[in-house]
Symmetry: C2
């Protein structure tokens, strides 16, 4: 068996095509809105294979969420922020978070879907919990180093900061449709995106800077 040659039967390839198609469809329409038949067609796989590999629609959703979260947690770790001065590390993290949301719009939509269902489909993903622990520890480390270096004020909660860094990017992007309509404002032009990122960096830096 050659790994390079496209095989007529390849369990791994089929499985990952299904996962990718499911991710796109669940992101687009939510758990309830996505159709198993449509996922099968987009994956170029038979519907039967979805049930063969993933059991049922909800378990497929669980697999999609797990994959999406592990992807972002991995990317965050690859930033190697511990090697940067704390203020630079913080700005890099804000930029990264923003860019990641922009480049992976499906991630935001999947998180929204997971929360519409009250997190039910995340409860079994202990590996994501562990990856998230590492992530918060990383933020805590940046904060500690910043305080020690006299750059940041002390006693800022790393958990709250983490939530706020996500919030100011995430909310802007996920609710841009209602925002564009109701506030009669461009959200997605290059200029608008640059403005928002700058505003967000400013927000966090004002919060952290020693006074």
């Amino acid at each position: 068996m050659q790994a390079t040659k496209a095989r007529t039967r390849d369990a791994d390839a089929t499985k990952s095509r299904i996962l990718a198609a499911a991710k796109a469809e669940f992101a687009r329409l939510g758990l309830g809105g996505a159709r198993v038949d449509e996922i099968a067609e987009k994956a170029n796989a038979n519907k039967r294979m979805i049930y063969h590999y993933f059991g049922n629609k909800e378990d497929l959703f669980i697999a999609v969420l797990e994959d999406a979260y592990l992807n972002i947690r991995t990317a965050e770790q690859e930033l190697q922020l511990d090697n940067l001065p704390p203020d630079e590390a913080m700005e890099t993290l804000i930029r990264f978070t923003w860019d990641y949301y922009l480049e992976h719009p499906e991630f935001i939509r999947l998180v929204n879907s997971a929360n519409l269902h009250k997190g039910k489909h995340l409860k079994s993903s202990q590996n994501v919990v562990e990856a998230s622990r590492t992530y918060v520890a990383m933020i805590q480390n940046i904060l500690d180093r910043g305080v020690e270096a006299g750059l940041f004020r002390p006693n800022v909660d790393a958990g709250q900061l983490n939530i706020t860094i996500a919030a100011i990017g995430y909310y802007y992007l996920t609710n841009r449709f209602s925002g564009e309509i109701l506030f009669e404002r461009d959200y997605m032009t290059k200029a608008a995106l640059d403005d928002r990122l700058a505003f967000n960096i400013d927000t966090i830096m004002c919060l952290l800077r020693r006074v």
Copy 2:
């Protein structure tokens, strides 16, 4: 016809029971997940009445969104923030926004649903657009008075500020399910809620305060 006596037939009452039931169901399960039969049953109305008064499921969703947005915009105006000093007005607005999200969890969920569908169901609601214009003007006014009084720094964009005030409360609450699981943290205890509100007020005040 006596308005006080419960009539066996009352178009307005039936219509508003349907709207209330639809709001609850759309908030709970989204546009795709909510069931018209279930809405009819919860409203104590016949399903046919939904089609009679609202046309179809999507138009009912439009009516629900419009009602939800007009409710919050009305409540915001009733704050009379123009009578308060700018720093107090700002803090009052942050508290109000937070409390409103807490007391009207269905609002957040409806906005999420509207954005899952790319705002399609808001496009016809010109009255909400107008109410939103008034709202941003109110924030701009607080900002202007704050700058003039030497309390706030100049050139902070009212639109961005508006988005951020919403974001830091909204994101915390809408994504609390994934947050509680992945970050192993209480989100909804009295202490946690108080902490978050204090953190959010601090965030905005740091951003606005003259340096």
